[in-house]
Point group: C2
Chain length 180, copies 2
């Protein structure tokens, strides 16, 4: 989607902040699927793909985007959560079965700044899919010639281990994998 | 995301084909949330926002994309489903809580052809969120100055009523709303 520079930083809140957890806790849900009960037979015996954790949207104006989802669409949205260690401010939009994460640059070298330079009005930035074993997934994906955007597994902004797959190996989609 | 022409056509299979339904039927799920039990208080008393129905990905090579999700990621994918009345061939990727839909142009005037001209390797095309009353949603959104890409509600490729919201009014994201 015309990305010159690939944004690697993860995009959610440190779990310590617990904001979205609280939002979620308020709504009793039965998890339809988890990686501990894999839906997918798996392409490898070593790891299993899980549910869609989130769709991340880069937005040029966080307050405006927040107002759109809350006041126009009527979605349940979090407050703005600064995640300086990942260079983003985040707002979580709870859609019940999954969530959208609205991302806005915070500080210098934000992973979404370059994206917004190219996409002035904003746009879909990445999808995040859960896996049950991030190290096994990374090893297997490397063997299958999928480029990973970091040498090692990193701790993402949810406080969980993540990797990002190269968009050119994923039909132009930046795919984050997060260990659930 | 650099879209000059907005793609309006919907992107899923006619429910009569029932392919994905069969895939889903094979997996007992407890629906975590439906529009009949709205999670969202709503910005309007007239309609409620629901769950994320799907994320649509436009792909230049459907077989290759299918192989990626099935053989590399180990996801459960459908066969290729031609939906000529909507100008796309579709593959459904079941992620348990929601799905991804891989779209490839079919015939002339496909709604994804222009997108793929601009995004040669493919990319995220739209998100689809469910609503409980599409007519009420459309009326309310128009009142709130959100541009709708058609004068009237249309029947989408799932065989259900849909509208598309203008990406410039949704932070660069093409948002489909489908009556659940």
């Amino acid at each position: 989607m015309g990305r010159g520079r690939v944004a690697v930083g993860t995009v959610a809140v440190a779990s310590a902040l617990g904001l979205f957890s609280r939002l979620q806790t308020a709504i009793p849900t039965v998890r339809t699927f988890s990686v501990s009960q894999p839906l997918h037979k798996g392409a490898s015996p070593e790891w299993n793909l899980g549910r869609l954790n989130h769709v991340a949207i880069a937005v040029p104006d966080l307050e405006k985007a927040m107002a759109f989802y809350k006041n126009v669409l009527g979605a349940q949205v979090s407050d703005v959560v600064p995640v300086p260690e990942h260079g983003v401010s985040v707002v979580f939009v709870n859609l019940g079965n999954t969530k959208m994460e609205l991302l806005h640059p915070l500080g210098n070298n934000s992973p979404v700044a370059g994206f917004l330079q190219k996409n002035k009005v904003g746009g879909m930035h990445h999808v995040c899919i859960e896996v049950d074993d991030i190290n096994a997934a990374m090893k297997d994906l490397k063997k299958k010639k999928i480029r990973i955007l970091s040498e090692e597994v990193k701790i993402g902004a949810h406080g969980k281990p993540v990797i990002f797959l190269h968009p050119k190996d994923c039909d132009g989609v930046l795919v984050e994998m997060e260990q659930a």
